[in-house]
Amino acid sequence: MAARLAAIFFTMILVDNYVLVKFLGICPFLGVSKKLNSAVGMSCAVIFVMTLATAVTWPIQNFLLTPVDEAGNLKWDLGYLQTIVFILVIAVLVQLVEIVMKKYMLPLHKALGVYLPLITTNCAVLGVTVLNIDNGYNFVESIVCALGAGFGFMLAMVIFSGVRKRLEEAQPPKCFEGLPITLVAASATALSFGGFGGLIENIFGAI
């Protein structure tokens, strides 16, 4: 069990990195990675919301939308409502977290509050909740997967903010200035993550 959870966690960070391999959450990856501290702040907010969203959407899917009885048959099937329900739950959740934070956890709100409204429409958050259901993970696995996805996001953001710092001093051809050279640099960063392929299978075996 523990080995399986560890395998899921590290697969999400290194092999199936959400930003660099699965292309989820590219907007904040390119937009908020200019400075290291804002990259870390954004990533913390993403980790927090991803985990919370998974903790809320998993029970909704398995007890409200597609519940199964003891024999394993569907009691009723509202699976087609998944997209609408999930996005609304996430939107409400983010608002709620912001209000609670503002009232009771002011220092935390100061650090993360800026990034929270942006996360509602972040595809990585909706993506992780939907993928957890698609993969058939149980509750604990889903939470670990969401945590792994969040930390993977953070790793990519932190590495890339370092890359961008060097990029600012570079002098690319005129037409590559700005966004194009950033994308090419992201390509090089993504390529380096290709080296992790097969790592998890070999460390944790075929679990």
Partner: protein, 223 residues
Amino acid sequence: MSKFQIFTNGLVKENPVLRLVLGTCPTLAVTTMAFNGLGMGIAATFVLFCSNIAISLLRNVIPDKVRLPAYITVIATFVSIVQMLVKAYVPALDKSLGVFLPLIVVNCIILGRAEMFASKNKPLDSALDGLGMGLGFTLTLVLMGSIREIMGSGTWFGMTIPFLADVDKFTFMTTPAGGFFTFGCLMALVIFIENKTGNKKERSIGCEGCPSKSVCGAKGGCE
């Protein structure tokens, strides 16, 4: 602006992907094959067209304070319709688009156009804008998908290209890194043409390109 101008606006002048830099995630993720790009483009165009009309019709009814959740609900409804249609009639596409089909909900192009255009304009204009933007998105995806598929697997829309059959494939193009690379080069090419013809456009993926800009309290703090 004439109706025709509104329609063609999204194709070149305000191409959502290459000029406005919206919808980067699906652009990078699904363009490993031209067919997937086409499917994704058509699905997004349908949602964009319908949601633009619906939001434009409701623009005087939706209170300003809750407009973002209202837009998301409208968009999510149409996305669910598309999901069911694709699952029923093109199951192969459903498999290859995977999670990116439900993720059309949070595609910046759709929310961005609702916020920037449909909430301020008449239904007919909004419909044309949605169609134009959707076609611009589709064309870009097919172009990028074609480049990556031809170079990476030597096929186009699944058909083998005769004179490429014996050539070594540049498989890098079909990897995620190749996606970033193709997108960067394509954008550089567009900027090169812009510089030559002198109609430069500022690109930023920070606040300017963000659909949550007007509702966001960060005021540039996240950049």
